[in-house]
């Protein structure tokens, strides 16, 4: 099973360079083969429950099967934390900038973005620093994203892929650029609100590699992570090449394996950062062992 910590590091590049890069071509037969493995694994899942994997659920499943199954079944009552809310607000601000273009748009401001976030989350948890920095972070992000119209940037691109009638993968790319009908390479850009990109941002990228490869023929050239940074935006890139594709598909296969165990009533249990908000920890053998200090 692939450990999150064992994932290859992403390359640090400038956005302009990232978009100009051409990865080694991915043979179509490879995508077909990897897809077939996922379809076959999905076919063997027990029961009839609908399974819809998103990036956060795959990350949860790989961290802990029991927690991931609860996330999959929407059984967790967690309220989005400040980081999630901040991410939504920054995403909203970037979307708004793209939609309105570079023209000045009256009252396209923090108040509007937070009001939009408030529709399904609670922005009151944001501290004053985050609120004050919202506009600054957006400015640093869009300073990078002032691309020529020929890149045809589009936001919030919803993608859904069915492995069969009950198992599917879904997600939304924050920004997509290039690809048909432009003559430019196709890249997916994931916007992050954190000032510095740490390892915790990396799992999202690997899920998007799978989603992009299954949805588009040929697969996109890369997935780019873009964060506002401290003084200037920070960019990391994962080229979609045969090797990265195998690693990414392996993670989804592993997640389906966790789903299989969960559906059979035997979810794996692993200690990690999710224990702090897990409703099952009081009855979790791994957590108890960790508390006693004899390892999990």
């Amino acid at each position: 099973m692939t450990e999150q910590g064992a994932l290859p590091a992403l390359e640090v590049v400038a956005l302009e360079d990232a978009l100009a890069r051409r990865p080694r071509p991915v043979p179509h037969e490879l995508v077909v083969k990897l897809r077939r493995e996922l379809v076959e694994r999905a076919r063997r899942l027990p029961g009839e429950e609908s399974i819809r994997l998103r990036k956060d659920i795959v990350a949860d499943l790989l961290a802990c099967g029991r927690y991931g199954m609860a996330a999959l079944r929407r059984e967790l009552a967690d309220r989005p934390g400040p980081a999630t809310v901040l991410g939504s607000a920054v995403g909203m601000a970037v979307r708004s900038w793209f939609a309105h273009g570079q023209r000045a748009h009256e009252r396209d401001d923090e108040e509007l973005w937070l009001a939009a976030v408030r529709i399904d989350q609670d922005p009151d948890g944001l501290d004053d620093i985050d609120r004050r920095e919202l506009a600054e972070r957006r400015d640093r992000l869009v300073a990078q994203l002032r691309l020529s119209e020929s890149w045809w940037p589009r936001t919030e691109v919803a993608v859904s892929v069915a492995l069969n009638d009950r198992v599917g993968l879904a997600g939304r790319f924050d920004v997509a650029v290039g690809g048909p009908p432009t003559a430019l390479p196709h890249h997916l850009i994931e916007i992050k609100s954190m000032v510095s990109l740490g390892e915790e941002a990396s799992p999202d990228v690997w899920f998007y590699v799978v989603l992009g490869a299954l949805r588009y023929v040929p697969p996109p050239a890369s997935v780019v992570l873009l964060a506002p940074g401290v003084s200037a935006a920070e960019v990391r890139q994962l080229l979609i090449e045969p090797q990265s594709l195998r690693v990414a598909f392996g993670r989804v296969l592993d997640a389906l394996e966790e789903v299989d165990q969960g559906l059979r009533g035997e979810p794996s249990e692993r200690v990690g950062i999710r224990c702090a908000r897990c409703p099952f920890r009081e009855r979790c053998a791994a957590f108890a062992a960790d508390e006693r200090g004899d390892g999990a």
Binding site: L76, S96, A99, H100, I119, R154, V157, A158, S160, P180
Partner: protein, 288 residues
């Protein structure tokens, strides 16, 4: 489509609708094909039909797509350019959806500025992807369908905004939400075929454009797909009749009679009965 097929479909729908024995028409749309909890449907008070935010969004997207094609189907579409289109509104647009977007529909469906911005942004992004996809599929002449609902006896099949693709042969398509169930998709195409047959003379095919999947589910209007549509209507009518029975039983015997018909699922999170329902999914659960 021969007249005898059309007449046969009309007669069958009339017969199915007759079973409702009601003076008010039963409205059937795509959303009614989605599996739902009968207990919740029986218990919730009957509300007059109201256009949802999703309906507004689809109407705006449909208008934007048609407007874009009317202006020459420029492949280099960008978000700001679609946004300009949105600000201007399609030619002569004065529909309820555009008034909603501009906050001009009065108190009954007044949405906040933020809600309208979200719908606006979603509509822009979805329209851009839909235009791109239709271009890839070779569609060149696209306009808004003027008739997307038909009434037959006690039934009203109302499917919301749709596009007519006038490339040869002429067809009719809806911007669809993603679904994993192929059976449900077949039923949706069946409903679409009924509307095309009875509402748009000359539609040879119907389609559901699933932008998220990048697919156009397309089927020629013929007896097989029409049969699917009729079966879908039969199911919805049967469910409605059962709902009415349950409502009467609940009024006489209390809520407990409903639980036998409760089915846990996505609705539990928004159901007012969830606290009392023995099978409702509750969060947080104590079992994984």
């Amino acid at each position: 489509m021969p007249d005898d097929v059309r007449n046969s479909v009309l007669n069958r729908l009339l017969a199915i609708g007759h079973g409702l024995g009601s003076s008010s028409r039963l409205r059937v749309g795509f959303a009614d094909l989605r599996p739902s909890c009968l207990a919740r449907r029986a218990a919730e008070p009957e509300q007059p039909f109201a256009k949802s935010v999703a309906t507004v969004r689809r109407a705006v997207v449909t208008d934007l797509v048609a407007s874009w094609f009317a202006r020459g189907a420029d492949p280099a579409i960008t978000l700001p350019r679609v946004y300009s289109e949105l600000l201007r509104g399609p030619d002569g647009a004065d529909s309820w959806a555009w008034r909603w977007l501009n906050g001009a529909n009065g108190d009954q469906d007044r949405a906040s500025r933020a809600e309208r911005m979200l719908v606006q942004q979603d509509a822009i992004a979805l329209a851009a992807e839909a235009i791109r996809l239709l271009g890839e599929l070779g569609c060149r002449t696209v306009r808004v369908a003027t008739r997307t609902s038909v009434s037959v006896g006690f039934l009203r099949i109302a499917l919301g905004s749709a596009l007519v693709v006038e490339d040869v042969p002429t067809g009719m398509l809806w911007i669809a939400s993603s679904t994993q169930a192929s059976q449900q998709r077949a039923r949706e195409l069946g409903l679409a075929a009924l509307v095309a047959l009875l509402g748009l003379a000359g539609a040879h095919w119907v389609g559901l454009l699933d932008v998220a999947r990048g697919e156009l589910a397309q089927v020629t209007v013929g007896e097989e797909v029409l049969g699917e549509g009729i079966a879908a209507i039969e199911e919805v009518v049967e469910r409605e009749l059962r709902r009415r029975e349950l409502l009467a039983e609940a009024r006489a015997g209390g809520l407990a009679v409903l639980w036998e018909w409760a089915s846990p699922g996505w609705e539990c999170r928004i159901c007012e009965l969830a606290e009392q329902c023995p099978v409702a999914i509750r969060a947080p659960s104590t079992e994984g």
